[in-house]
């Protein structure tokens, strides 16, 4: 176990250090044994491009976002400015057998670059994030709602979007019988 984790540590530092070298303002931390790099918003696309084209991270396994509205004092490493939303992307390198997580702080009403041109599979996850949280992705080919109806108002996964805001109609509806 210790031998493995020591080797892991070295490998981890390699990728994180390479990203830190390339992307100005990036901050790397370890979270529960996983490598996490905080990326400034304007360098988001550049960082992912670097991972894909120069570090063999050829798969974007997930892209999502978190509304941190209720945690304005959450712990973040020094050098990362808190914003309301955190866009989170997980990448996997098959040849190197490594994973890495990138996080980007996005303010309410803010926009972050779409990863569609690098990983076309992020089209639906980005639409889902836009639909449920209202984070916009610049350069996305079709940034429309994914799960909610097109005429829906608001973004349901925001912490200030209360679950009971829309009354359940079936309870009050007249029975045909």
């Amino acid at each position: 176990m210790t031998d493995d984790s020591t080797r892991e540590e070295i490998l981890k530092e390699e990728v994180a250090a390479a990203v830190l070298d390339r992307v100005k303002g990036a901050v790397a931390v370890e979270s529960h044994g996983q490598t996490v790099v905080h990326i400034p918003r304007d360098a988001w696309l550049e960082a992912v491009r670097f991972l894909k084209e120069e570090q063999q991270f050829t798969q974007c396994s997930d892209l999502t976002a978190v509304d941190q509205l209720l945690r304005p004092d959450r712990p973040l490493p020094a050098g990362v400015e808190r914003e309301r939303f955190e866009v989170v992307a997980n990448f996997l390198s098959h040849p190197r057998n490594r994973r890495i997580r990138l996080i980007c702080q996005v303010p309410d009403g803010g926009e972050v670059d779409s990863l569609f041109e690098l990983f076309s599979g992020t089209e639906l996850p980005e639409r889902e994030v836009y639909d449920l949280l209202g984070v916009r992705f610049a350069g996305h080919p079709d940034l429309t709602r994914l799960l909610m109806p097109d005429d829906w108002e608001g973004h349901p996964l925001r912490k200030d979007d209360a679950p009971a805001r829309v009354p359940v109609q079936l309870k009050e509806a007249q029975s045909p019988r």
Partner: protein, 131 residues
């Protein structure tokens, strides 16, 4: 009489496959652009079955969360439960007994088989031309 023998036309047709079409089980709509019988483009439209389970999860304790995530896929609930449990345990820094690890492994193996058995028949009957 393959597509190459069909008369040329620049007219394409947009049709909706689903969500009421039986083969989509009421939960999937595919907007198709057709040139005769050839599909040029297909855009899936989902969300008909979404019940806001992430929002539900916000109100639940960690133990209740396990039960919530199993409902997301009735054919393979234990994979979701395992992923949720592993993440929760990692965040809380909980170590589970070896016995639990083996039980999880066996349950997920069984679940994998069940999932496979559950997926092939519908694949067959929804693609059967005689239906």
């Amino acid at each position: 009489m393959g597509p190459e023998s069909w008369p040329e036309s620049d007219e394409t047709m947009i049709i909706n496959l689903g969500p009421q079409h039986p083969s989509t089980h009421g939960v999937l709509r595919v907007v198709l652009e057709l040139d005769g019988e050839t599909v040029l483009r297909a855009k899936p439209v989902i969300g008909y079955l979404h019940t806001g389970m992430e929002k539900t999860g916000e109100q639940l304790t960690y133990v209740q969360g396990c039960t919530n995530v199993t409902r997301m896929d009735y054919a393979a609930p234990l994979f979701n439960e395992l992923a949720f449990s592993l993440a929760t345990e990692r965040l809380l820094e909980v170590e589970i007994p070896e016995r639990a690890t083996w039980i999880r492994m066996m349950m997920c193996e069984l679940n994998g088989w069940r999932r496979t058995c559950c997926s092939w028949p519908p694949t067959g009957w929804t693609s059967a031309p005689s239906r």
